[in-house]
């Protein structure tokens, strides 16, 4: 469904993403993990059209989306959320979600019905008429998810929707994400919360210093020495092996 090949992004002398290849297949939940500054969000931004790749190809459903603007990519069925939540602060939750719903209909009543439906899916029904600026962190993360979902995407790009949530809230949102997948939406997510990554993903890619260093099932990736070193520092894998 999504094919990224040989994508590179440079900021001046810094190579933020270096010839990355990856693919996401239909109905999968694929995660992208890696230490802070690894280039995960930059990669997302290129896929969703917010940044232009310096090299490589990004294909969605076998057609190149490189050079398209974000709204065009969204209309094709691929939509992203933001790591730093970007609510329409002056509007209510309902109005926020309706903006997403309007991408498929010009009728206000239909957009409202769709928004209410989506709010139910993500568990925000009771917050519909509350101002978005008054939502908690968990509420804002859900709102990001709801707005994106309201555009009826085929592929959902979730950028750290669990960061800053407590364990109970994480369990809630994991359930919500599974529910979304069961409705037929493919999911590609960036996540730091390992428990959720293990629990959710069919496959995982690991990015470090802009390069892909591992991929596979979450369990195999977690045992990969290179991955452990990326997270814990040089020599950590050996130390852990000795300790065990």
């Amino acid at each position: 469904m999504l094919n990224v090949s040989n994508v590179t992004k440079r900021f001046g002398g810094l190579v933020a993403v270096s010839s990355v290849d990856l693919e996401v297949n239909e109905k999968e939940i694929v995660s992208l993990i890696g230490p802070n500054g690894a280039g995960k969000t930059t990669l997302f931004a290129m896929v969703a059209g917010f940044l232009k790749a310096d090299e490589g190809r990004v294909d969605f459903e076998n057609a190149s989306v490189l050079g398209m603007r974000p709204h065009q990519i969204c209309q094709l069925g691929m939509v992203r959320t933001f790591q730093i939540t970007q609510p329409f602060a002056g509007l209510t939750t309902l109005q926020n979600i309706m903006v997403g719903a309007y991408s498929n209909t010009s009728e206000t009543d239909r957009a409202r019905t769709k928004a209410e439906e989506v709010a139910e899916v993500v568990g925000m029904t009771s917050l519909l008429h509350q101002g978005a600026d008054g939502l908690t962190v968990a509420g804002r993360k859900r709102l990001e998810l709801a707005r994106a979902l309201a555009t009826d995407p085929k592929l959902l790009l979730l950028d750290e929707v669990m960061a800053g949530l407590n364990p109970a809230e994480i369990d809630d949102i994991v359930t919500v994400i599974k529910g979304i997948r069961d409705r037929g939406v493919t999911i590609f997510l960036i996540e730091h919360v390992m428990k959720a990554v293990m629990n959710l993903s069919d496959r995982t890619y690991v990015l470090n210093d802009g390069k892909l260093i591992a991929s596979g099932t979450p369990a195999s990736v977690a045992e990969n020495p290179q991955v452990i070193e990326a997270y814990l520092g040089h020599g950590a894998a050996e130390a852990m092996a000795e300790g065990a």
């Binding site: 969703a48 917010f50 603007r69 974000p70 709204h71 065009q72 969204c74 209309q75 939509v79 992203r80 959320t81 933001f82 970007q86 609510p87 329409f88 602060a89 002056g90 509007l91 209510t92 309902l94 109005q95 309706m98 903006v99 997403g100 309007y102 991408s103 209909t105 010009s106 009728e107 206000t108 009543d109 957009a111 409202r112 008429h129 707005r147 994106a148 309201a150 555009t151």
Partner: protein
Amino acid sequence: MTNFRSHLYFLLLGAIALIILPYFISSRFYIDVLTLIFFTAYLGQSWNILGGYAGQFSFGGVMFFGTGAYVSSILLTTFGFPPIFGIFLAIMGGALLGLIVGYMSFRSGLKGSYFALITLAFAELLRVLANSVEFTGGGVGLFLTYAPGLSNLQFETPVGFYYFALVLMFISIAIVYWLESSRFGAQLVAIRENEDAAEALGINTLKCKIYAIMIMGAMGGAAGTFYSQKYLYLDPPIAYSIHLSVEMLLVTIVGGMGTIFGPLVGAFVLHTVNEVARHFIDTPGLSLIVYGLILIVIIGYLPNGLIGAFKKKEKKSGSTSLDKKTSRGDS
């Protein structure tokens, strides 16, 4: 549903009151002041669509007014083209100018103060241009002949212009009323609140912003025809005066940006304050100081304008009108 109904009745009552008002006012002065209030409210509303709803503050809104005024006036003086049709060409001229300015500035990503400055620059450019070319009459200006009649959009009594301005204002309110409940309006507000998020959710932000400035331009163009037919004279300093650019944003900010009645409330309050200060204070210039002080107080203490202050009170005693609007379908 009852909420919405009573809202509509209230609106209808207000409209009827304004329509029959001239039958109770014999003073030419008051009719003229009210005409000016409607005219400013109308221009404020045009600014409100781009500034209040789409969040793009322009500082050269007068350029559409001036261009519309020149379009219909030149057509009248050179070709004898009747202003009742000329006003539509003025509208198209304003919209076209909006398209050009919007495309050039939004395409290159100008926002905030940069956008404000580029619109100011466009207005100034047009003023200098109008001064130096021949077909605008240059610095001498254009004199229109007084020939009352509907085809000339000129009227024998001030009441005629009162209704002309009132119709323009009603149309502007209808446009914004439509915005409030339409997809296009929601998209503009989304752009105002967060442009990146709007773009991510499938909104063509460039197109929406250009449409918004074209609507503003079209409205400004009609205002130009109104003005030139009422005052029968046009020169570059009038057509492209910074004062009018400021006035249209001022009435909107004072009344409340992004609200249906903000520009009307702002225009009413500011004109009233201005007239009252002039009437009661004899020392020359002092009335302007009082006017300025009141402006400072309103803008300093009511950042959301007069309507915003009113809404806040309403919020404390229940839900906001914004809530009511969006939930009216299921109530």
